[in-house]
Each structure stands twice: as C-alpha cells, then as structure tokens.
C-alpha cells in the first residue's frame, strides 16, 4: 500500500504514488539542470513535460487510476535519460581549460567522497554481476576494487589447498543478497535518499558494462574455463566424499544402536574394530558419530532450505541463522578430527590385539612385513 498524491502536470491533474512522484520529480529536475545551459532549454523541458502528461493521460484512459513507479520507469525509458538527450544538439565545445578544471575538481571530490563512503558501507552479495553467487562482486562493490581482480585472487587462493573455495562458500552462506535498491545503495556506501534511489533504479536499466580490453577479455575467458573445471571436479569429489561419509555414518549408527554388543555380524562394532573404542572411550565414539552426522546433514539441510526458499515455500534464512549453522558445522569439523584420531587409535589397538590372539603361537616368527602390518592395525 502506498501514499498517493495529486500532481498538476501541464495543467492536468494526475494521481500518482508518492515514490513514483519522487522519481518523476528527480527526472524532471535533472532534465532542467541538463538543458539549463542551453538556449531554449526551458522550452525543451516544457515540451517533454507535455509529452509525459500525454503518456499519463493514455494510462488513465486505459483504466489506471493511479500512476505507479513502474509507469514512471517506463516513461523515463521511453523518453530517455538526461545524459542521452543532451549533447545531441549542442554545437559548442568545452574549453580545454574548463575541462581540465572540472576533472581536477572531480578527482578531489571523489577522494573526499571515497573516504566518507567507506564509513557507512555494508557488505552484500551483488546480484547484478554474479558468476556464481555474487560474493566477489559484492566485495568489489564494497571496496571499489575491480571485480576481475577479486576473481583472480580467489582462483589463486584456491590453489593454496582450496582455501579460496572454502572461504567463498562460507561467505556465500553468511552474506545476504542485496535485493532492494536500498541494499544496493548501502553496498556502495551511498546515502539512501529518493534521489539516489531513483538513480539506482534508472541505472539498473543498463547493466554496468566495464570498458573491455584484451586483457580483461582473456582473463574472463580463462576464469570461465577454470570455473568449469572446478565445478566438475567439486561435484565429483563431493559425491565421492558424500557417499563415503554417508556409508560410514550408517554403519556407525546401526552398529551403535541396532546390533547387540559383542556380536560378530559384519557391521557390528566388533567386526569394524571399534569395540575397543566403545569400551575405552565411548563418549569419543559417540562424539565422532554425532559430528559426522552434523557434517553431512547440515549442508543437506541448507541446500534443501535454499531450494525451498527460491520457490518461495519458506522464507530464506536470516543472516543470524546462516551464521549459526555455519558455526555449528565448523564446530563439528573441529570435533571430528581429534575424535577421529582417538577412535582410529583404539581401532589399531583392537586389530593388534586380535592379531596377537590369532597368532599367539607364531609371534616370534612374524617377518618384518607382517610386523609392519601389525603396527598399522591392518591385521
């Protein structure tokens, strides 16, 4: 529901939503200032206003009682943005000196702006220029550093034992997406007022195309190929790891809870070499199982939740929830390592014991090869 106001455009009355009115006002103001330097500039803008009134009349006749922001956007697109319209007909060239002065002032004010901007910025994922999830694009918007550099850095970091990919996934989960124009403004550190909002919407029409040169093209292309490889590789690895862990999880759970202790059925604790672990350090074994469970199920839950939220069945997770799940997962990861080491230690012990039992009369004749296997709990 929006506030509606009456406006008078060229002597005709229209009912228009408040936000649409702000955008329209901003558009007309920028036209006036753009054409203000020209001779007869005011007349031109008057003509344009008349044209807008005509278009609004058409809308009214087609049954629209109120002019909405969508109407205003399409009118602006139709008639053209101020930068497009000026310079069409000015024959005058600017003084070189004037140009130099303007550039100098621009640079100075930009530096000021930059230092002020950094203060109020927020980090979002940028949906306007994303390759995967817009994480790097968001970082680029936040730091004003070209996104291609960030992408290059991410790829290089990935070569360091996959740090890049891990960080990217973590950030992709934690950072929210900049959905509304207000978010986009905050991402770039600009103040949220109707003027800038109108700008953000108008700018949206043209996806920001950066001047392309050969280096950027090559880099983009290479990145795309590298990305393709990574995706295939990651899926492959993910499936293998997933299946392995899942099997281990199922085996553990069934051994712990469903099979009687001391039995020698194929997947019981005894048979898997974990009975010793269960006797000596049951808590650790249980911790191992729980951590494995969390490690597998939390990402699964996250993916399901994301798919459902995309099809609008549930609300997407808030930043707090995302952080909580990531933290829980990392804790599980940190637990599983020492727990796993302990469990495997007991596993080796058990195997050694079994071997000794089996070969109790042959102990002195074991050769070096068997001794080695013994040490490693293989037999």
């Amino acid at each position: 529901m929006k506030k509606n106001i009456n406006i008078n455009l060229c002597g005709r009355l229209f009912q228009i939503d408040e936000d649409a009115c702000d955008m329209l006002q901003h558009y007309i103001d920028s036209l006036r200032s753009a054409f203000g330097r020209q001779e007869g500039g005011d007349e031109i803008v008057d003509d344009i206003e008349a044209r807008i009134a005509e278009l609004f009349d058409e809308l009214k006749n087609n049954g629209n009682d109120a002019i909405t922001i969508e109407h205003v956007k399409s009118v602006i697109t139709r008639i053209g943005r101020p930068e497009e319209l000026t310079g069409e007909d000015t024959g005058s060239q600017k003084d070189w000196q004037q140009k130099a002065e303007e550039t100098f002032n621009d640079v100075r004010s930009k530096l000021n702006q930059a230092s002020n901007k950094m203060a109020g910025r927020r980090l979002y994922r940028n949906p306007n220029d994303k390759m995967v999830a817009g994480v790097l694009s968001g970082l680029a918007a936040y730091t004003d550093i070209d996104v291609t550099f960030w992408r290059l850095g991410a790829v290089l970091l990935t070569f360091c034992y996959g740090t890049g990919i891990l960080l990217y996934i973590v950030l992709a989960i934690i950072l929210p997406e900049a959905k509304t124009p207000e978010d986009q403004l905050r991402m770039e550190g600009r103040e949220v007022n109707p003027q800038n909002l109108a700008d953000a919407v108008i700018d949206d029409r043209q996806p920001q195309r950066q001047p392309s040169n050969a280096l950027r093209e090559i880099l983009s292309f290479l990145l795309k190929i590298a990305f393709g490889f990574f995706v295939v590789f990651a899926i492959f690895v993910g499936i293998i790891i997933g299946i392995t862990f899942l099997t281990a999880l199922i085996a553990l759970v069934s051994a712990l809870f469903f099979l009687p202790m001391g039995s020698t059925l194929p997947f019981s604790l005894e048979a898997m070499g974990l009975a010793a672990a269960y006797e000596q350090a049951p808590a650790t074994l249980i911790l191992f199982t729980v951590a494995l469970f969390v490690l597998l199920l939390v990402p699964l839950y996250a993916i399901i939740h994301m798919v459902l939220s995309l099809s609008k069945k549930v609300q997407p997770m808030s930043t707090g929830q995302r952080i909580a799940w990531v933290v829980i997962w990392i804790i599980a990861l940190c637990c599983i390592v020492p727990a796993g080491i302990t469990v495997s230690y007991y596993h080796d012990e058990q195997r050694k014991e079994e071997y000794n039992q089996k070969h109790i009369y042959q102990r002195d004749f074991t050769d070096t090869w068997e001794q080695k296997l013994l040490q490693h709990g293989e037999i």
Binding site: F35, R51, D57, R78, G80, E84, E88
Partner: protein, 114 residues
C-alpha cells in the same frame, strides 16, 4: 560494439534531414514524428526529438502552432517555413552528392600496378 557506435553516429547526422523530409508532407507533432520514423525503420529515443525540433524552430526552419487535442494536453504542430523548404532543397542536393560519393567508392575496383 564499435559498429553500433558508428551506426549511431550516422543516424545522428541524418536525423535532421529525416525530420525535415517528414514535415514537408504535412505538419505534425513530436510523438507522431517518432511513429513515422519507426515506420521508416529509424529508431530514436523520444527525448532526442524535442531539443532538435526546438533548435530547428530557433533557427527559423520550422514554425509551430498549438492545437487542442482530445487525448491530452495541447500539442505543438510543427511545419516547414519557407526558409525550411529552401534548406531542405539544399539538404536534398547534399544527400545526392554524398550518395554518389559512397556509390563511387563502393564500386571502385582495385587497380593492378605492374
């Protein structure tokens, strides 16, 4: 991207000639001119027309009259002035010259030098 830039530059140069040609037939107003240009397969953003028409009027090539309309606010109907008609004849001649030049260059065959 570069061919689009070149096309856009060419169109900008031609726009004035096209508008004057249209107005020679009969007086018309801005949005109608846009539609006719669209029929002629010249796509322009509406807003570019207003500065152009005002400049032509200020240069004395066009004159306008206000006409009430049933579908909205009153419109400016532009028409060629006498000076405008003479200017158009000059543009016709210029266009023929240009056209000849382009045709000549296009049909040029490479010469073989020994």
């Amino acid at each position: 991207m570069n061919i689009e830039n070149a096309k856009s530059q060419m169109r900008k140069g031609m726009l004035e000639y096209c508008v004057l040609l249209l107005l020679k037939h009969r007086p018309s107003y801005a949005s109608d001119i846009i539609l006719k240009l669209k029929d002629a397969e010249l796509l322009v953003v509406e807003g570019t027309l207003y500065p152009l028409l005002t400049r032509l009027k200020n240069d004395g090539l066009l004159s306008y009259q206000w006409q009430e309309s049933t579908q909205g606010p009153p419109r400016k109907y532009y028409a060629l002035s006498l000076e405008g008609e003479r200017f158009l004849e000059g543009l016709d001649a210029a266009w023929s010259e240009l056209s000849n030049t382009i045709n000549y260059l296009k049909n040029l065959r490479p010469e073989f030098h020994l």
